[in-house]
């Protein structure tokens, strides 16, 4: 790692001030992406601003209409929450499948969403559930938040404080995981709510998480595994690498969507 200053944020406002004071400062959440990136010398922050001691950024609140998870809540805490397993089991299950146990003991939802890795799990839940990203200054709809490969609507000095997920009628996440990293080769999040069906896909696109609108339309007509499975997804714009070709990923999307629909139906 290159040298950097370490600053333990005293508050969210303090962290924002630190980002404003230096354009090369970076927020440190769980560090499960940022620290390996620094170790590879792929990033050279002047300062790491650690949110780790801000207790106000930790916790899960279950409301009648929605679930709010504060930004510094670890994947392990999301996975282990008995209340969340009842209220939104798809989200708890998603968290239980991120990385590995040691990563889940450090990594945070806010860090994952802010990073917007094209193969990360949480962005698909945010987009699939039409979540709201709550920052230190505003609220951003998931549809507006994810803007491409590692790109988000966050300003340079803006910090996520929580994610608010509307509670669906049913939801499920199916991941075809890379067996080494457990990142999604393809991951599909299906959510059915009073306002309709949403299908969000991670891992597949060169531009990060996206909605599979053709599958959404088919499921709107008939919420059955077959309705999803018969849709052919074009491979144009999908990622092609040694984990899988674009055609292979295109094939996986309706397959995983159908499995997720089956899981949704079994919840009813």
């Amino acid at each position: 790692m290159y040298e950097f200053d370490y600053r333990r944020a005293a508050s969210v406002e303090d962290a924002v001030a630190a980002l404003r004071a230096s354009g090369e400062a970076k927020i440190l959440a769980g560090g499960m992406t940022l620290l390996p990136t620094c170790k590879m010398r792929l990033a050279r922050p002047s300062q790491l601003v650690d949110l780790g001691r801000l207790q106000g950024l930790k916790g899960i609140e279950i409301g009648d209409a929605d679930v709010t998870i504060r930004a510094m809540t670890r994947h392990a805490d999301v996975a282990a929450s008995a209340e969340l397993r009842r209220a939104l089991p798809a989200l708890a299950g998603l968290a239980a499948g991120i990385g590995d146990a040691q990563v889940r003991n450090r990594g945070t939802i806010g860090g994952s969403v802010a990073n917007n890795d094209p193969a990360a799990d949480y962005p698909s839940a945010c987009l699939g559930l039409a979540a709201t990203i709550v920052t230190d200054r505003r609220e951003i709809a998931a549809d507006d938040f994810f803007q491409g490969l590692f790109q988000t609507a966050l300003a340079e000095d803006e910090i996520i404080v929580a994610i608010r997920f509307p509670r669906p009628v049913a939801a499920a996440y199916e991941k075809f995981k890379n067996p080494a990293s457990r990142y999604a080769t393809v991951g599909v999040f299906v959510a059915r709510s009073a306002s309709g069906v949403r299908v969000a896909v991670t891992g597949a696109s060169e531009n990060g998480v996206f909605r599979a609108t053709a599958i959404e339309a088919a499921l709107q007509g008939s919420f059955t595994p077959d309705a999803a499975a018969t849709i052919r997804v074009p491979s144009k714009g999908l990622a092609s690498d040694f984990h899988g070709s674009a055609d292979y990923r295109a094939h996986l999307i309706p397959v995983l969507a159908a499995r997720a629909v089956q899981t949704c139906l079994s919840q009813a």
Partner: protein, 157 residues
């Protein structure tokens, strides 16, 4: 440089570190506690696993300054005198190691797993131990050792 104070294996330790000093570097190079191994240094292999405030973490991917004020348990801290920890004993009995390089991390991860899930199924053990790699591919006996340590009949017995 800044000063950090941690409790390591029950004893308070104060050291001067840089912002970029990793917890594993503090353990191995500053404190000479070489039981915690570095296998990959890229957050994948889990050989450097220690308990931090009761949770298994990869000590190659946490800064010493992040751990300031916390409680760290390493492989050196789990036995009681000459008496091995039950997980260590199970690894010995069931030959849950071949070259032994990954073993400190495997043992620390298994201790964390069993503290939170005292009787895990074989599937749960395999899932929960995914963050620890054994390049000898000796997983079968590692799973057997974790089962035995949890008072269950090990696979293959």
């Amino acid at each position: 440089m800044q000063s950090v104070t941690l409790t390591i294996n029950g004893k308070p330790v104060t050291a001067e570190v840089e912002g970029r000093t990793l917890l594993v570097k503090l353990l191995r190079e500053t404190l000479g506690m070489t039981g915690t191994h570095v296998g990959c240094d890229t957050t994948q292999c889990g050989a450097c696993t220690v308990l931090f405030n009761g949770d298994a973490v990869k000590s190659c991917t946490i800064l010493a300054v992040q751990a300031d004020g916390g409680d760290v348990t390493t492989i050196e801290g789990v036995a009681t005198g000459e008496e091995l920890h039950p997980v260590q004993e199970a690894f010995r009995t069931h030959h849950g190691l071949q070259c032994g390089f990954c073993t400190p991390g495997m043992v620390m991860r298994a201790i964390d797993l069993l503290a939170k899930n005292p009787r895990p199924t074989e599937e749960e053990i395999r899932h929960e131990m995914e963050g620890n790699l054994c390049r000898c591919t000796g997983y079968h006996n590692i799973v057997a050792a974790v089962q035995a340590a949890s008072g269950q009949t090990p696979i293959g017995h």
